[in-house]
Symmetry: C2
């Protein structure tokens, strides 16, 4: 790189870059968020999203994966960038630009000890408290974006165990879109999606009769490739 090329960059300022993660779970017919009750500064004692700074040598996407992994012990989650927040005073301590990411977690599968160590808790969406900085806005934006994605792509299943009943699936979509759905119409729609397939197993935990378990088959989805709920 020539001197002038170097100057092209170096005359411009640099910024702290962070990621904040909106971690969605699903339990008891409600979406939940995994939130920190901060036992560290800044904003100790307040509620916030799990976040962290982008470090040298990692992409912003990787930082988000790392941060979620640090809290949940989980890798390979379904994660998407929501947007980037770059207002001057969004962090009152110092200027920090932050990219928000949402993650979808099977709430049965996270590392409890890590969550406990971070003083983090699952909070049902209607009970989410006020969060620090612009995290309330991030949650709003993430929810909307997630709702949109869930309406056009079969991503909701990432919030359920690998095998799930149709009642669970319906309850999930009712929670995501905050609207009741008709059982027969819902099941008709799912039946038309050949990539949601019966596993042959039966779940007996919720009813004497037992409910057929289904799974999402990503390969078959790739062939067909359309979803709308």
């Amino acid at each position: 790189m020539t001197a002038s090329e170097k100057a092209y960059y170096s005359i411009h300022p640099k910024f702290h870059m962070a990621v904040d993660c909106i971690i969605f779970g699903f339990e008891d017919g409600e979406l939940s968020l995994l939130l920190l009750k901060r036992n560290f500064e800044p904003a100790k004692g307040q509620w916030s999203l799990m976040g962290g700074f982008v470090e040298e040598g990692e992409s912003v996407d990787d930082a988000a994966r790392r941060v979620v992994g640090q809290l949940t012990g989980l890798t390979d989650l379904y994660m998407r960038q929501v947007r980037t927040y770059g207002d001057l005073d969004r962090d009152p301590g110092e200027r920090v630009i932050s990219s928000a990411y949402y993650a979808l977690v099977d709430i049965k599968k996270y590392d409890h000890s890590l969550v406990q160590a971070h003083n983090a808790f699952w909070v049902k969406l209607p009970e989410v408290p006020h969060l620090i900085f612009d995290h309330d806005q991030m949650v709003q934006d993430a929810l909307h974006f997630m709702q949109y994605q869930a309406s056009v792509k079969p991503v909701g299943m990432n919030l359920l165990p690998e095998e799930f009943t149709l009642s669970q699936l319906q309850a999930l979509y009712e929670a995501i879109f905050r609207e009741e759905m008709d059982k027969r119409n819902f099941r008709k729609k799912i039946a038309s999606m050949d990539y949601i397939e019966k596993t042959g197993n039966i779940d007996k935990t919720l009813s004497r009769k037992g409910a057929a378990l289904y799974r999402f088959n990503p390969e078959r989805f790739k062939e067909i490739g359309q979803f709308k709920i």
Copy 2:
């Protein structure tokens, strides 16, 4: 701020932060992008989006507005953040994180001398050349996002003059979604949108008969608040 609070930030690295702008126009029934044929380093001679670094004391959103303003002379454009690109080597010169924004411009209204000074050109979407870095990806993502927004919000009109004919409007949506639409069905749909109102003026430039001119009324849209095309 205490010393420990300061350390909380300062132990972390800082990054150059840029914005890159996908500037859409509409002409001759096609979407166009305003692109730079770079007459400066780095990547001199290649095509790129208009971009710039975020400076101290300006938000990322403001940086995007400034950068589009520098090229077009226009402020108050409809602009939305697309997403942020944070891969390690996305800029081969040095690590730069960049937020992409798209802007919708009335192609009749920009400052020609500024565009000329930047060696920028309107290029019809199907003829857009390969761009530097990850700008091809940015264009893809911006187009998809813009298409989505245009399908659920009345934002397409930002690409047209204040007053427009229904033929222009239909051609615009056909260009955005790359699909032909039925004239009668289209006009039926628009007629049901009370916030797209006849101005009483007539455009005579395209036909002997003349075509009624319409305008978008944002106040009336706010009252009604739904759009789908």
